[in-house]
């Protein structure tokens, strides 16, 4: 039971993660043993996975937060996604049998992750382990939702002006939050990376939008105003 105790602090995370959805809490420990993952601790700013690496593993964020990014030749960062505890990452590359990762995963804060070789779970389906079918169903759901989310990101990025990109992103956030005000998980540089625009131009545009009365904000708390 020494191994199990390592996972104990993250019991809540496992139970509420999409990967283990509809798997009873009692069964999770043995499933974790079956998965035989590797626990990893990362300090802020460190690369958890790096573009170009072999895409064997899949990760489950246990604590802290992390970003999926894509860096180009000149260091421009595209922030593809923001991860919270319970989120899976790099699963698409495993499931798609991609040879190497085209994205990197960076610790946005100090964090802990569980790295698992998911390929052996999805490729072989030994009836010995009854959880495999549910795991695959969960993976399906995770991938499908991420897919829909990516199409939303495409919409943000397809806007021609910084203002429209912001509005596209903000309205999605407001919709998600069910309220006209919401908090975003990014600082200005990260938001700029997320929308693929220049940071200072973004700051300037936010100012103008506030002056125009479209928007009100303080730090990372935003409110979309009527009209």
């Amino acid at each position: 039971m020494a191994k199990q105790s390592v996972y104990e602090p993250f019991e809540q995370v496992f139970e509420s993660s999409a990967l283990f959805a509809d798997i009873s809490r009692d069964e999770i420990p043995s499933l974790l043993t079956c998965l035989d993952g590797r626990l990893k601790t990362c300090t802020e700013g460190r690369y958890i996975l790096m573009a170009g690496e072999a895409a064997k593993g899949v990760g489950l964020l246990l604590s802290g937060s992390a970003h999926i990014i894509q860096e180009d030749y000149w260091g421009n960062r595209l922030l593809v996604d923001d991860l919270a505890p319970g989120d899976l990452f790099a699963e698409a590359f495993s499931c798609a049998r991609e040879k190497q990762l085209s994205i990197s995963v960076v610790a946005a804060t100090d964090c802990k992750v569980l790295l698992v070789d998911l390929l052996k779970i999805i490729s072989t389906c030994p009836s010995a382990c009854s959880f495999h079918r549910q795991l695959i169903a969960n993976l399906l759901s995770i991938l499908a939702r991420k897919n829909v989310q990516l199409v939303g990101r495409l919409e943000d990025l397809s806007r021609r002006s910084t203002r429209d990109k912001l509005l596209s992103y903000f309205s999605r956030q407001a919709l998600k939050e069910g309220s006209s005000h919401f908090e975003i998980p990014f600082n200005r540089q990260q938001l700029a990376d997320y929308l693929a625009v220049d940071r200072s131009a973004l700051s300037a545009e936010l100012s103008r939008m506030q002056k125009s009365g479209i928007l009100r904000y303080q730090k990372n708390n935003f409110e979309l105003l009527e009209q």
Copy 2:
């Protein structure tokens, strides 16, 4: 067997589609009966599925070609994806249990599609039908690959200038083709919609790139030149 004959002209498509991968050709007819889909014929320009509709079904393109698009308030089109026979569409929305579609599917040429209610296949898994497990595994693979592809699209769109967007897209095409020259499935307006830029600006940029010696093209045949 009246029903089966309807599918007969598309035997090849089914056999080579990702959805029916690793399912023997002999078993496909009965599987099609089990799926109980609806055959639909669409003329060029028609909407096969429209944003806002309930996301119950999933589609399989049987012949012709179609585009996944997203239209904004002012009619700006974002061309999200280009479909060929055998390709599945709207599967992410079904699998993710989205209430409504955020994308539309438009016939790029006259085409035929098979519309299926995939939800009952993925939600219930009756052991009576032994194909279901393989279908789900195939769906997983389709979604994962689409996911990776969408991240590639994000990269294209994240480029700051039209030239860089073009180069990002072209280099992916060249890589996919395994050759420095390749044909693209879009006309200029569609390419502009795909990269979220103005058509005339795109035409102008292509000209400049050709003059600079970066690129050579004729109609839809492109060649990336060294240096």
